[in-house]
């Protein structure tokens, strides 16, 4: 089995998958790409329908025996199953349900908000050629043009505030991690929220359990190793168009 991970700066979905790979000690070659420059759409990266139409937006691509795969949570599930390291998912079906519904919440509500705010603060320079998904191409154009909707920005800030409140509640019984043992839920939540401490500081103020949890995730050797791969001084400021904000509101 040959695995290659094409990843961007260790932030957002690239951070989730890099850290999952290191947690699991899976054997893979790493290829750095500049997601914010749209390199995923170039000839250098293998293409597939599931990558082109991934609703995660700009994220890493895991190629397994020639098959390109996308979507950070599911890539992490895959790595959890193939890598020799400790499990990144609970073993009991109900706890697995808890983890998957938590990740769905992050992916559907928090990631679009974080990407919206992150890209607004750090807009990409130009729209890349060859973006196959029409709606992703539209997000690129809007982001490069700095077209920011005030209502969406306010709603996105609310979503970050709500996410931190939810994490604070979740950890109120003194647990270290979101779902009992450390899991993909911690990685995915951290990866989208790490850059928000600077952009939505009020969300994190007076939430000591969340602050301690962020520090715990960051201190994990796998996360430290992923963050050390950054080529910029502040990877949490590197963003590319992400998932769209839910069309139903």
């Amino acid at each position: 089995m040959t695995i290659t991970l094409y990843h961007g700066e260790p932030n957002g979905p690239s951070l989730t998958v890099l850290a999952a790979l290191f947690e699991k000690g899976a054997d893979a070659s790493l290829e750095r790409i500049d997601l914010a420059a749209g390199e995923r759409h170039g000839a250098h990266v293998p293409h597939a329908m599931e990558v082109n139409h991934s609703i995660e937006g700009e994220g890493p691509v895991l190629v397994v025996d020639g098959i390109p795969m996308a979507d950070s949570v599911f890539l992490a599930c895959y790595l959890d199953d193939v890598g020799p390291g400790p499990a990144l998912r609970p073993s009991e079906p109900y706890d697995r349900w808890r983890m998957m519904t938590w990740c769905r919440y992050i992916v559907e509500r928090v990631a679009p908000a974080a990407a919206y705010l992150g890209v607004a603060a750090n807009p990409p320079a130009r729209v890349p050629q060859g973006v196959a998904s029409v709606d992703l191409a539209e997000r690129w154009s809007d982001d490069v043009a700095g077209k920011i909707d005030d209502a969406r920005r306010a709603d996105s800030r609310d979503k970050i505030v709500q996410a931190v409140e939810r994490i604070e509640r979740e950890l109120s019984d003194g647990r270290d991690w979101l779902i009992d043992a450390f899991s993909i839920a911690d990685l995915e939540s951290y990866a989208w929220l790490a850059g928000m401490t600077e952009l939505v500081p009020e969300a994190f103020a007076d939430h000591p359990r969340t602050a301690a949890w962020l520090a715990r995730v960051k201190a994990r050797p796998a996360v430290t190793r992923a963050l050390a791969m950054a080529t910029s001084a502040a990877p949490e400021r590197v963003w590319a168009p992400g998932p769209e904000i839910n069309r139903w509101g």
Partner: protein, 258 residues
């Protein structure tokens, strides 16, 4: 001997989000108590049900003392927690593809289907009722985004632009489904999986609702796939729980291509 904890599913018609865990339970052969909620009568926002699922979303499932929501996550739970045929493929890449398709359908394609469905069916079905009564019913909805959706559906306030974008996505989605089903027998793998159950509940009405985009000539693989799932005994048992025309016979899926 310990008593096996019982399963109750709170659901609407055997389609879309309700149909996903319903059909999964039937495919696994899990006995369950069916608790039908009439979505158009706002049963899902009444106190009895909010006591089970405070968010007021359908479906929900109880398994002994456990309460589970979110239809796709329930499907994975049912597959893992009960004996019966495995509905996730053995290949880990195929398992990834099952999850990819379920996310793509749940979060990208289904919202476009449902915008069209709500606009042509759900809105008109409830619009004729007393406005004050409707307003009170909407105020009882716990999730703000569902309140907005209901208001839009009832007032017919989806913009022409939103509807055109939904129609564009439906056309793209049909193209991608046809492409995937041209590559393998089932949507995500060579064995019947949760992705097929999810997809059937989204797409079984395609040849009726989008006949110009999905038919035996243009999308033979989608038609083959829908016919194969329609003919499964589990699908027939599942549809027997429907109470409206939504789960009436789809004659175009009975038998061979015209």
């Amino acid at each position: 001997m310990a008593e096996t904890p019982s399963v109750t599913l709170y659901h609407w018609e055997p389609n879309a989000n309700s149909g996903k865990p319903m059909l999964t339970l039937f495919e696994k052969g899990v006995a369950f108590d069916s608790h039908y909620l009439d979505l158009l009568n706002f049963d899902q926002h009444k106190p009895d049900y909010l006591a089970i699922n405070p968010l007021g979303t359908i479906p929900a499932m109880t398994h002994g003392d456990l309460v589970l929501t979110e239809s796709t996550a329930i499907m994975e739970y049912v597959d893992e927690a009960f004996p019966g045929p495995r509905l996730m493929p053995d290949s880990l890449v195929d398992a990834w593809r099952v999850r990819w398709w379920m996310k793509f359908m749940d979060q990208w394609l289904a919202p476009s289907f449902s915008m069209i469905g709500w606009s042509v069916f759900v809105g008109p079905s409830v619009r004729s009722r007393d406005p004050a009564e409707l307003d009170a019913a909407i105020e009882r909805i716990p999730l703000p985004e569902r309140r907005i959706a209901w208001r839009k559906a009832i007032s017919g306030a989806f913009s022409a632009e939103e509807m055109a974008e939904s129609q564009r996505r439906v056309a793209v989605g049909i193209g991608l489904l046809e492409q995937a089903l041209g590559q393998r027998e089932w949507l995500a793998s060579d064995s019947y999986s949760l992705a097929d159950i999810n997809g059937f509940n989204l797409a079984y009405a395609l040849p009726l609702s989008q006949p110009h985009l999905s038919n035996d000539e243009l999308t033979p693989n989608i038609m083959r796939w829908l016919r194969a799932i329609y003919a499964r005994p589990a699908t027939k048992s599942c549809w027997a729980l429907g109470r409206t025309d939504m789960a009436r016979r789809v004659t175009i899926l009975e038998g061979e291509p015209a």
